[in-house]
C-alpha cells in the first residue's frame, strides 16, 4: 500500500511540476532563454497566497490573485533585464537569471523571514482503500487547478491573437517581425505568462506543501529536466514526464530517505543528460 501511496502522491505532485515546466518550455521555445529564476518566481507566487492566508482570505483565492500580480512582476523583470539578453549567448542568460535568482532569494528572505511556512487550506483529507492511503484534498484540488490552467493556456495559445503571435515568433522571430508582429511585446507577454504560471503553481504549492525563500532552485532544475526529457512544445510529453518525475521523487524519498530527496533529483538530471548524450553520440550528434 505504501507503493500505491507513493505513486498517487507522485502523480499529483508531478502535475504541479508539469505546470511549471510548461512555463519554462514556453519561454525557452519562444525567447531561447533558460530562466534559472523560475523556481524563485514559484516561491514568490507562493508567498502571495500565504499572505492572503495571513490576512484571513482563503488561500485558494491566491490561485487567481497570484498569477495577476506575477504577470506584472514577469513583465517588469523582462523590461529591466531579460530584453537585454534575449538574442545573446545562452550562457549569458543563464548567468543573468542566476543573478536574479540570488537577488529574489535574499529579498524574499528579508521580506518574509527564513521560516518554512504553509497556507492552511482546511480542506481535510480523503481516505481510500480501507484507510490505507491518505490523500489530502488540497493535493487533489491543486492537481485539478493545474490541469484547468494548462488546458486553458493551450486553448488560449491556439485561438487568441496574442497566442498566434507568440507561436509565430517562436517559429521565426524575424519573419514575424516583418509581418507586423511586435516581437518585443510578444516577448514581454511570454515572460509575463510564464511568471503567471509560476504564480499559480506557487500558490498551489503553498497550499499543499511548504515554501521557503531558498527552495527555488530545485523547482528550476525539475522543470529544466522535464523540458529536456519531453522536448520543447510537446505538451503531453511535459505532462507525462512531470508525473514520472513526481513518482520518482516520492520513491526516492521512501527508499533513500528525505535527506537525499533533493540530491537524487539533481543526480537524476545529470544521469538523464548523460544518457541522452550517449544516445545521440551514436549518431554523431549532440544535444542542441
Amino acid at each position: 500500500m505504501l507503493t500505491l501511496q507513493a505513486v498517487l502522491d507522485g502523480l499529483l505532485l508531478g502535475i504541479l511540476f508539469a505546470l511549471i515546466a510548461y512555463g519554462m518550455a514556453l519561454q525557452w521555445g519562444v525567447m531561447n532563454i533558460i530562466n534559472i529564476a523560475q523556481g524563485d518566481l514559484v516561491i514568490l507566487g507562493g508567498y502571495i497566497a500565504y499572505f492572503m492566508y495571513l490576512y484571513g482570505i482563503h488561500p485558494a483565492w491566491g490561485v487567481i490573485v497570484s498569477p495577476i500580480i506575477m504577470y506584472f512582476v514577469g513583465v517588469i523583470i523582462y523590461k529591466l533585464v531579460i530584453n537585454k539578453v534575449v538574442d545573446r549567448d545562452l550562457f549569458i542568460s543563464i548567468l543573468a537569471t542566476f543573478g536574479i535568482s540570488i537577488l529574489f532569494m535574499q529579498l524574499m528572505n528579508f521580506a518574509f523571514g527564513a521560516d518554512v511556512v504553509l497556507a492552511n487550506s482546511g480542506y481535510g483529507t480523503t481516505m481510500l482503500f480501507d484507510n490505507s492511503v491518505t490523500l489530502p484534498n488540497s493535493k487533489i484540488f491543486s492537481a485539478f487547478i493545474s490541469i484547468v490552467f494548462a488546458i486553458g493556456l493551450v486553448i488560449y495559445m491556439k485561438k487568441s491573437k496574442l497566442g498566434r503571435a507568440i507561436r509565430a515568433t517562436a517559429q521565426n522571430a524575424r519573419a514575424a517581425k516583418i509581418l507586423g508582429v511586435d516581437t518585443e511585446k510578444v516577448y514581454a507577454a511570454t515572460f509575463g505568462i510564464n511568471a503567471a504560471l509560476c504564480g499559480v503553481a506557487g500558490a498551489l504549492i503553498s497550499i499543499t506543501f511548504t515554501i521557503h525563500p531558498y527552495m527555488g532552485l530545485p523547482y528550476t532544475i525539475r522543470s529544466f529536466m522535464i523540458v529536456i526529457v519531453a522536448g520543447l512544445g510537446n505538451l503531453p510529453g511535459v505532462a507525462m514526464s512531470g508525473m514520472g518525475l513526481g513518482v520518482f521523487e516520492e520513491f526516492a524519498d521512501y527508499i533513500l530517505g528525505t535527506e537525499f530527496r533533493i540530491g537524487s533529483v539533481f543526480l537524476l538530471l545529470v544521469l538523464i543528460l548523460v544518457y541522452r548524450r550517449f544516445k545521440l553520440s551514436r549518431k554523431r550528434e549532440y544535444l542542441k
Binding site: 533558460i34 533585464v81 537585454k84 539578453v85 545573446r88 545562452l90 550562457f91 549569458i92 543563464i94 548567468l95 543573468a96 542566476f98 543573478g99 536574479i100 535568482s101 540570488i102 537577488l103 529574489f104 532569494m105 535574499q106 529579498l107 528579508f110 532552485l217 532544475i221 529544466f224 529536456i228 530517505g257 535527506e259 537525499f260 533533493i262 540530491g263 537524487s264 539533481f266 543526480l267 538530471l269 545529470v270 543528460l273 548523460v274 548524450r277 550517449f278 553520440s281 549532440y286 544535444l287 542542441k288
Partner: protein
C-alpha cells in the same frame, strides 16, 4: 621581456612581504589567493575551452573534505572525530598536523583530477548550456549528498584539526597565507606554461568551433578531459587549503557552496576577461575588494548586492576588463593594427 621580469619580480616580492606589511589582513590575503586560483582554473575551462561550468565547485568541495579527512584519518579514527563535533577529543602534535596537511593536500589535488578524468567522458560530451546546467546539477547534488553522509559529519559539519600550539601567535595566519600564495604562484606558472604550448591552441580551437576542430583531426575529447583534469587538480588544492583556513566544513555552506563560491569563480573570470592570462587575476582582486566592501558596509544586503552585481556585469560588461583594454589598446596585446583600417572600422560602427 626584461620589463616582464621586473613586473613578476615586484609582484613576487610584494606577495612574500604582504603578510608583514598588512598583518591584520592575513586571512583576507589568503582568501584572495584562493579566489585567484579558482578564477584562473575556471578560465582554463570556461574561457579557453569555452565549456562554461558551474561545477568546478565540485572539485573544490571534494578537495576540502579529502584534505581534512586525510589529515584526521591518518592519525585518529575519522568517525569518532566527527562525532565529537567541536569537542577536541584528539589533539594533533605539530609534526602530525603538518605531515597530515601535506599528504591531505596531495590527495586533495590528485583525487579530484582522477574523478574529473573518470566522469569527463560522459559529461564533456554535452555542449553549451546543457553542459552548464549539468555541472550545476552535479555541484548541488554533491552538496546535498555529502550533507547526508555520517562519517564526514553529515549536517552538523566537520571541524578541521586546529592549528598546533607553536611559540608564535602569528604562525597560523602566516602558514596558511604562504601555503595559498605558493600554490597560487605554482598555479599561475603552470597555467602560463600550458598557455604557451600547442595545448592552448587546441583548447581555443575547441572553443571556436568544435566540429571543425574534430574534422581537422584533433581528438577533442582527449583534450577536453585533460583540460578539465587540470582545472580539477588546482581546484582541489585550493579547496584543501581553504578547509584548513576556515577551520570548519559544512556541506552546503562552505564546501559545495554553489551560491557563493561556485558563482564567484565564474563572475571573477568574466569580470577580468575570459580567455586571458591576467584577466582572472585582475578580476578576482577587484571582486574581492568589492565583496569585502559590500560584506562590511551592507551587512545582510550582501546577496542583494551580489545579485545586482552579477546582472550588471553580465549584461553591460561581458567582455571584462581585459577585453575592454584589448579593444582600446590593441597594440599592447601584440595585434598589428593598420591605422587606416582601424579608422575605417570606427566610422563603419
Amino acid at each position: 621581456m626584461s620589463k616582464n621580469i621586473i613586473l613578476y619580480g615586484a609582484i613576487l616580492i610584494f606577495g612574500l612581504a604582504a603578510p608583514f606589511i598588512f598583518p591584520a589582513f592575513k586571512v583576507q590575503l589568503s582568501i584572495l589567493c584562493i579566489l585567484i586560483i579558482l578564477a584562473i582554473t575556471w578560465n582554463v575551462q570556461g574561457g579557453e575551452m569555452g565549456y562554461n561550468t558551474f561545477g568546478n565547485i565540485l572539485f573544490y568541495g571534494l578537495g576540502m573534505y579529502l584534505c581534512a579527512s586525510v589529515q584526521v584519518g591518518m592519525f585518529f579514527p575519522l568517525g569518532e572525530w566527527t562525532e565529537g563535533g567541536g569537542e577536541k577529543t584528539f589533539v594533533h602534535t605539530p609534526a602530525q598536523f603538518f605531515q597530515g596537511f601535506a599528504v591531505g593536500l596531495a590527495v586533495a589535488a590528485v583525487v579530484p583530477a582522477i574523478i574529473a578524468g573518470l566522469i569527463g567522458y560522459s559529461i564533456l560530451g554535452l555542449r553549451g548550456h546543457y553542459f552548464a546546467i549539468c555541472t550545476l546539477g552535479l555541484g548541488v547534488a554533491a552538496g546535498e549528498i555529502s550533507g547526508g553522509i555520517e562519517i564526514i559529519g553529515a549536517g552538523q559539519g566537520f571541524t578541521t584539526p586546529p592549528f598546533p600550539n607553536v611559540d608564535r601567535l602569528e604562525a597560523r595566519g602566516e602558514f596558511f597565507y604562504f601555503c595559498s600564495f605558493i600554490v597560487l604562484v605554482f598555479t599561475f606558472l603552470a597555467v602560463k606554461a600550458i598557455y604557451s604550448t600547442r595545448f592552448k591552441l587546441v583548447l581555443n580551437a575547441i572553443r571556436d568551433n568544435e566540429d571543425k576542430a574534430e574534422a581537422m583531426g584533433i581528438q577533442t575529447m582527449k583534450y577536453k578531459i585533460i583540460g578539465w583534469m587540470i582545472s580539477a587538480f588546482f581546484c582541489g588544492l585550493a579547496g584543501g587549503i581553504m578547509g584548513g583556513l576556515v577551520g570548519y566544513i559544512d556541506s552546503t555552506d562552505v564546501a559545495f557552496d554553489g551560491r557563493e563560491m561556485g558563482v564567484f569563480m565564474v563572475l571573477m573570470a568574466i569580470l577580468g576577461g575570459k580567455g586571458t592570462l591576467w584577466g582572472p587575476v585582475i578580476g578576482a582582486t577587484l571582486f574581492h575588494i568589492f565583496k569585502e566592501g559590500f560584506w562590511t558596509f551592507f551587512l545582510g544586503w550582501q546577496y542583494v548586492a551580489l545579485g545586482v552585481l552579477i546582472v550588471v556585469i553580465v549584461i553591460y560588461f561581458p567582455e571584462g576588463i581585459m577585453g575592454w583594454l584589448r579593444e582600446k589598446y590593441p597594440e599592447r596585446f601584440g595585434e598589428v593594427v593598420d591605422e587606416a583600417d582601424r579608422k575605417a572600422q570606427v566610422t563603419l560602427k
